[in-house]
């Protein structure tokens, strides 16, 4: 028995990836455990140029979850490559470069820069609800999504995973459009667009008014989306949304996810991702599963 997973010809030592935006570039968690025990890490969203992110409040807790409005704060791809990537490349972990952008040109130029690195996978974020002009606009309408994925596909030889928004008009059609445009795989979901109001100030909590909801409160919906999209397309899927423990992770795998990402759970417990790796391995032993393929998508539907 081992929990290795082959994904687009790349070997993951287990199906657990730290989700974008919740794990920085790995350094901070590596002070507490060797992050090489994880299958992969998706970087904080990168953009062509540096972004200082959103002003005002960025975090708001909700029952069993949180809303965030970080606004893709990042040093820009060049400085990421210089300052952050060397550390990650020394680790035995698959790197997914999470790429954001405000325009198709920006995405394309960003992808070209990443194409020159040793990173094997680009995770194209067309679903960030927290940047004004772009991001999510690409993730709502499948025609716009098709255009951006097609252009990025032509700009890079890297494996291309497109990260979808649960706010898409029709998530299955969106998935099909991205695959048609050249996506090798899909990751879903990003945060749900949501609203919170300060009743004393009679104003929204966030400067951007809406913000992205994540955590265990979104898990059942995220799971349903993974299941539906798995039926709609023939590419592998990375399941994300409210995964807190190995049981949640196994649910996503049984719904059709080849790999999973752990996001907000890292805030609740710095060792959450590590514990999920260990839990999955114990579960495989107990259930006599020799390869996760045996249970991937086992609930059927296709």
């Amino acid at each position: 028995m081992n929990s290795t997973v082959e994904f687009l010809g790349i070997n993951f030592k287990n199906p657990v990836i730290a989700a974008s935006g919740t794990f920085g570039y790995g350094k901070e968690y590596d002070e507490y455990f060797d992050i090489s025990i994880l299958g992969g890490i998706s970087t904080k969203g990168l953009t062509l140029h540096e972004k200082i992110g959103n002003l005002g409040r960025r975090i708001y807790e909700t029952p069993s979850g949180l809303m965030n409005s970080i606004g893709l704060q990042n040093p820009g791809i060049n400085r990421f490559i210089e300052d952050e990537l060397p550390f990650l490349l020394k680790k035995d972990i698959v790197i997914l470069a999470n790429l954001g952008g405000d325009s198709i040109e920006e995405y394309v130029l960003g992808a070209k820069k990443l194409d020159e690195t040793d990173i094997p996978i680009i995770e194209l974020n067309i679903s960030c609800p927290n940047v004004k002009e772009g991001g999510m606009a690409f993730g709502i309408d499948e025609k716009v999504a098709y255009e951006v994925v097609k252009e990025v596909r032509m700009a890079t030889k890297k494996k291309l995973v497109v990260k979808l928004s649960p706010n898409a008009k029709d998530i299955s059609k969106m998935a099909q459009a991205c695959v048609k445009a050249g996506a090798d795989a899909l990751s879903l979901v990003n945060t749900f667009n949501a609203l919170a109001i300060d009743i004393n100030k009679r104003k929204p909590i966030f400067n951007n008014i809406t913000a992205g909801l994540s955590g265990p409160c979104i898990k059942p919906i995220a799971l349903r989306i993974v299941y539906e999209v798995k039926k709609a397309v023939d590419v592998p899927i990375i399941g994300i949304g409210g995964i807190m423990d190995y049981e949640d992770a196994i649910e996503f795998i049984m719904a059709g996810a080849t790999l999973i990402q752990v996001g907000s759970a890292n805030f609740r417990d710095i060792y959450a991702s590590k514990k999920i790796v260990e839990g999955i391995e114990e579960f495989m032993k107990k259930e006599k599963i020799s390869n996760l393929k045996e249970i991937t998508g086992i609930i059927g539907g296709k």
Binding site: R58, P63, S64, P216, N266
Partner: protein, 244 residues
């Protein structure tokens, strides 16, 4: 490799003033003045996040936090009884850097006094303490035990200087000031210090991870966006932009 999670038993948890609690825990705790822990006293998913609390004292494998009852999290913490468990992650943040040869003052507003007790204690009797309160003062004995001179203000008077703590201090008397409290107070002292007196302020913000990964707690500084949890919570006041 650091051990991030510490499980602690409650030794004592009581209200020491109106809405102000002190909890003392037993565990393998470390930390310097100005550093904090992410604290969780519940297992359920609501509240979802741990709460940042400053170290108010550490002695013989015991740690104390002093906290104000504000919302869900602190209410849960206040209901925890002796021998029950509390989860800590930390110590986190940079803490105060102190030069004992300089003439120093400590200024606190409200619950901002919590970390300052540990600061005073570590630099025994070398610092003057200025503490401001909205109403009834608290932790006065601790201040008396560990400070050179103690000055107290309460907005309600109650036998102390009636008004704000900033009215009590002459900043020119000091080489360096360490301050923790509400932002308007920090802003007022920063204005008084005017780059002449060195001023270090402990900042607050909403936090998710507490270790520097989520960028949820960043503030704008003259040196770019900085994370309160990792680059702070203590900043040179010259760096910080204060808002109303």
């Amino acid at each position: 490799m650091k051990e991030g999670n510490i499980e602690c038993n409650v030794i004592d948890n009581r209200e020491i003033a109106n809405n102000i609690y002190k909890i003392t825990l037993r565990g393998h705790v470390l930390g310097n003045p100005g550093q904090f822990y992410m604290v969780r006293a519940w297992n359920g998913l609501d509240p979802f996040l741990s709460r940042p609390l400053s170290i108010s004292d550490i002695q013989d494998k015991q740690i104390s936090f002093v906290y104000e009852l504000r919302g869900k999290g602190t209410k849960e913490l206040a209901s925890i009884k002796t021998e029950e468990l509390v989860q800590l992650t930390g110590p986190l943040g940079n803490g105060f850097t102190v030069n004992e040869n300089l003439k120093s003052a400590v200024v606190s507003g409200g619950i901002g006094i919590a970390p300052m007790i540990y600061l005073l204690k570590k630099y025994h009797k070398n610092m003057d303490m200025y503490a401001g309160f909205r109403a009834e003062p608290y932790l006065i004995d601790e201040c008396l035990a560990h400070s050179n001179n103690l000055y107290i203000a309460s907005e309600e008077g109650l036998g102390w200087h009636k008004g704000l703590v900033t009215e009590l201090i002459n900043v020119d008397d000091y080489d360096v000031i360490y301050a923790c409290g509400p932002e308007p107070m920090l802003k007022a002292i920063a204005k008084m210090a005017q780059n002449k007196t060195m001023l270090y302020v402990s900042m607050e913000n909403y936090m998710a991870c507490g270790i520097g990964s989520c960028l949820g707690c960043t503030i704008q500084t003259r040196d770019g966006m900085k994370r309160v949890c990792k680059d702070g919570p203590v900043f040179d006041a010259k760096e910080v932009y204060f808002y109303e």
